[in-house]
């Protein structure tokens, strides 16, 4: 295994390690609060996995500087058809496939756009003309909502723990089960 491969996969391995640590806390500890802590660690490791996948080396955060945005925003909306978009794409990639796709795309059919997609698998998807490379915004969006929903569900779990403590007098799993069996 080369160093390059090790560094390329190191992130995934740490994420898996964190995930398994969380899993270990959940299954090995009887205290309910500790189980929720384990679930939290597990959850955060999933966030990290997604964010890792969105990163592009040499990229920057997907916030387009206003100056650059102004340069690229269409002054006349009618000129921006498939032709204009294609010029935007083709500029960044010097693939022979892109050249092959070009005349078809100029035909401006939706089908042609699909052909073009297949023809140029390289990073056209993440660059704007000659501007900087932007990391993928999609994983960020998914995780953003997941974090807030995660804390909301954690709060529900903790509320249930408080109620369990009030009714059972304990938050140890085995003691709760013992109380349940007695009644």
């Amino acid at each position: 295994m080369s160093l390059e491969q090790f560094l390329g996969l190191y992130n995934y391995w740490i994420v898996i390690f964190l995930m398994m640590t969380g899993f270990y806390i959940v299954i090995s500890r009887g205290n309910l609060i500790r189980s929720i802590i384990g679930l939290n660690i597990f959850q955060t490791s999933v966030f990290l996995l997604y964010i890792t996948m969105g990163k592009i080396s040499g990229g920057t955060a997907p916030i387009i500087p206003p100056a650059l945005a102004a340069a690229h925003s269409p002054h006349d909306e009618h000129t921006l058809d498939a032709h204009g978009e294609h010029a935007l794409n083709g500029h960044s990639v010097d693939e022979p496939g892109a050249a092959a796709g070009e005349p078809i795309a100029n035909g401006a059919a939706e089908l042609a756009e699909h052909v073009e997609e297949i023809a140029e698998p390289v990073s056209a998807a993440v660059t704007i003309a000659d501007g900087p490379i932007y990391s993928n915004p999609l994983p960020s969006v998914l995780m953003l909502t997941a974090i807030v929903v995660g804390i909301a569900t954690t709060a529900v779990a903790l509320a249930l723990i408080v109620r369990i403590r009030e009714d059972y007098g304990t938050i140890e799993e085995d003691e709760i089960l013992a109380v349940d069996r007695r009644s």
Partner: protein
């Protein structure tokens, strides 16, 4: 849970809270331009209220942000969000199709369709997240301690 006996914590908190609130508002309303948005602003605002409640006591926090108001804001945020969608439908588009929030309502002041739609939606998210997080803190902190 009050920490009224620690003057350093009290003074530092009083100094910090205005900036936390300001930062939350910046994150909320500047979310289209820099990093930020409703979710982030909501949790930062709620963190400021939580800090206030931790240091000055739950009753003081409840005077600043009354629970009754917060309970209504919880629902209001979702209503703003869904209402934006209904508004776009009434203006002839699909649900949450902001392009129909047209430019000519108040041309020089209000931004274009997408900007306005995103702004309203983020506002709804921010209101709901703030209210929910604050209410969760109130509910936990207000619970009687039993031994």
């Amino acid at each position: 849970m009050s920490m009224n006996t620690f003057p350093i914590i009290r003074v530092v908190t009083k100094l910090l809270i205005p900036y936390i609130l300001l930062f939350a508002l910046y994150v909320q309303f500047h979310g289209d331009y820099g990093p930020g948005g409703g979710f982030q602003a909501g949790v930062i605002l709620a963190a400021a209220l939580t800090l206030y409640g931790l240091v000055f006591g739950l009753e003081a926090a409840k005077r600043v942000a009354p629970p009754k108001l917060m309970q209504r804001l919880m629902a209001l945020g979702v209503l703003i969000y869904a209402g934006t969608g209904v508004a776009t439908m009434l203006m002839g588009g699909n649900f949450l199709d902001y392009n129909h929030l047209t430019h000519d309502v108040w041309p020089q002041v209000l931004p274009s369709g997408q900007h306005l739609g995103i702004f309203l939606v983020e506002l709804g998210v921010g209101v709901t997240v703030t209210a929910v997080m604050t209410m969760i803190f109130y509910t936990f902190a207000g619970r009687q301690h039993i031994t």
